[in-house]
């Protein structure tokens, strides 16, 4: 006979279930419902309109390209930064604090900060002009310079959101006792081998969390892109915004939202499978 009442755990999670239900599940179901109820009465009308739109394939391509460039870059940078920080003795907290400042800045503010740097009359041009490297104002973010626009957005995104990966990776590194690396070194492993054979595998659970978080957010990227590229660089979330607010077509906007969600879920499932850590392999 169980001595503890069985209902207590359920009672304790009930508030959060209610909260989630009211603020997440209901709007989600409504959005899905909305995306499948088109003006022309067909089930997939909104999706057909979305796919037929001129910007659709560009937005898909841009979003994926951004994600594929930004997320690996952020993870690699974060691992490098975390490994360096873990070697620092004094001043470590200060360095970590500086590295994480961008986390406190909203994405639109971050986008505007980078706009101030990269726009025609921005700091970058002033500096380059001062150094005599350019003759006059040069556009970096225009339709004619898609490569520098892309690089600018990547820079801003990396600056803005690498710290969240860094924090997760540092927490993960701290969970790995230093003896593992030491033992590997005693038995002849060089630094790179130690990183690949010991640190990286033991960091897998943290990397999985960081990758899921960052990838999902990367597919939803909007404010930074909007600030820097405006309509020159369509992305999925931006298209949803346009259909909702400029075209006033809530159905197609909902279709975009559902598409983003589907991509995010697919990415999450992918990471969960590929980076699966069997419980018996945990330290």
């Amino acid at each position: 006979m169980p001595t503890r009442a069985n209902w207590i755990p359920y009672a304790l999670i009930a508030p959060s279930v209610v909260f989630l239900g009211a603020l997440f599940i209901v709007p989600l179901v409504q959005t899905i419902w909305l995306s499948f109820s088109s003006d022309d009465g067909t089930l997939l009308g909104n999706y057909a309109r979305m796919a037929g739109d001129l910007n659709f394939s560009v937005a898909i391509r841009n979003t994926f390209m951004l994600t594929l460039v930004v997320v690996p870059l952020q993870v690699a940078l974060a691992i490098g930064m975390a490994l360096m920080i873990s070697k620092v003795g004094k001043g470590r907290d200060l360095i970590l604090w500086v590295f994480t400042i961008p986390l406190g800045i909203s994405d639109l503010a971050a986008g505007l900060a980078w706009l101030a740097i990269l726009q025609n009359s921005g700091y970058l041009n002033s500096a380059l002009y001062g150094l005599g490297l350019i003759q006059g104002q040069t556009g970096w973010l225009s339709q004619e310079t898609p490569v520098t626009l892309f690089i600018g957005i990547v820079l801003a995104e990396v600056w803005r959101a690498t710290a969240i990966v860094l924090v997760i990776v540092i927490a993960g590194l701290q969970l790995i006792p230093k003896e593992f690396s030491e033992a590997a070194e005693i038995f002849g492993a060089k630094p790179w081998t130690r990183f690949c054979k010991i640190t990286l595998p033991l960091l897998k659970p943290s990397l999985q969390s960081a990758l899921i978080l960052r990838t999902v957010l990367a597919f939803e990227v909007f404010a930074v892109v909007y600030a820097l590229g405006g309509t020159n660089f369509p992305v999925l979330a931006g298209e949803a915004y346009n259909w909702q607010n400029i075209n006033q077509n809530y159905g197609v906007a909902a279709a975009y939202a559902v598409l983003i969600m589907a991509i995010s879920i697919a990415a999450t499932v992918f990471y969960l499978r590929v980076l699966r850590v069997r419980p018996e392999q945990l330290p």
Partner: protein, 354 residues
């Protein structure tokens, strides 16, 4: 040749001195046990030899090569960690094979070596498992097997058998000794189990408070401790110390007098419980018995000599009762004299009869 010279190595953490000018020479193929109480700096010394910790001063020379500035990898040794450090994400086989893999040994040879080491430590049934599914003692044996598999010239072991049951520990101890002797491995073996140190080592280095108090063969460390600490730390029961005063070259305890050693006036007389014998007729050192414990192989008598607590080992057949006063005869050549003020042993007087 892989002898180890530890030359005046000191280590401090902040203003805490973990090691103070420790010097120790270990010959090629020799087995030296580092014995000492918890926190005396054994692990710290071992980690400095391995290169995992940097000494504050002093040198480490292995096989004639000053390795003080080399990384652990370049020192060419193997180590068993006190907390095992068995890789959780690799099977037992891959753990044991790790050192060989790093040396790019061909697969067939890896398999042979791993199986040899695994057989020695009785872990063959677990080769396919992950360490998380092993008991503490099994994991510890994986760590030892990993070190043995590379057939190192120098092997450092930090309490490698601490987690095994008494029977298995005894068996592993004997096998380790045989294997290491056969391979001619230079070994430094950390333990705080004195019977282990006695049984395994060619020489024992007794550490206390960041210093090595005595380095000698097990027999000498037992019979002729050079400090009060060593006498009290080694032996079961530990050495008895009786405070006495030397007066005109003589020490008197009850009716018995001994030639006092040259040196101090305030002395601790060190007497091993096994070195005292019941005199039968009540002559000799007066010993007031308080408790009699039959241990099977012997009787353990707890009581006092001249009001100072002492433990004496008597034959199992002796008829001694609590509350009785008995006489003890002792061989003066087996006594240890400690200068109370320094805690160090004084040379035994040459002519010890009076």
């Amino acid at each position: 040749m892989a002898d180890i010279v530890i030359d005046r190595v000191s280590k401090h953490f902040g203003d805490f001195h973990a090691l103070q000018e420790v010097s120790l020479n270990v010959g090629d193929g020799e087995f030296v046990a580092l014995l000492g109480p918890s926190g005396c700096g054994k692990t710290t010394l071992l980690r400095i030899i391995a290169g995992l910790e940097t000494q504050s001063s002093g040198r480490i020379v292995i096989g004639g090569r000053d390795v003080s500035a080399l990384s652990p990898r370049e020192r060419g040794l193997a180590m068993v960690f006190q907390n095992y450090a068995v890789f959780p994400h690799m099977t037992v086989f891959e753990n044991v094979a790790f050192g060989l893999r790093m040396k790019k040994v061909p697969d067939a040879e890896v398999k042979r070596q791993v199986e040899r080491a695994a057989a020695l430590l009785h872990i063959e049934p677990y080769l396919d498992r992950y360490p998380a599914k092993l008991s503490g003692g099994q994991r510890q044996r994986v760590a030892v097997a990993r070190a043995l598999a590379v057939q190192p010239a120098v092997l450092l072991m930090d309490e490698p058998l601490s987690n095994l049951d008494a029977l298995l520990r005894l068996e592993m101890r004997t096998e380790l000794k045989a294997v290491l002797r056969e391979a001619g491995t230079t070994t430094i073996y950390v333990t705080h189990d004195q019977t282990e140190a006695m049984g395994l080592a060619d020489r024992i280095a007794v550490m206390y408070g960041g210093k090595i108090d005595q380095i000698d063969t097990p027999l000498s460390v037992y019979a002729a401790p050079t400090t009060r600490f060593v006498g009290g730390f080694i032996g079961n029961p530990p050495m008895n110390f009786i405070k006495v005063k030397a007066e005109s070259g003589t020490v008197r305890i009850g009716p018995v007098s001994f030639v006092a050693p040259a040196g101090g006036l305030d002395l601790d007389l060190g007497l091993r419980g096994e070195d005292a014998h019941l005199s039968g007729d009540g002559s000799g050192l007066p010993f007031d018995v308080r408790v009699v414990e039959p241990m099977g192989s012997h009787l353990l008598l707890t009581g006092s000599i001249e009001g100072q607590a002492a433990r004496i080992v008597a034959p199992p057949t002796a008829t001694v009762r609590a509350g009785e006063r008995v006489g003890l005869t002792v061989d003066p050549s087996r006594l240890t004299w400690i200068d109370t003020s320094t805690g160090r042993a004084l040379a035994r007087p040459q002519d010890s009869t009076r």
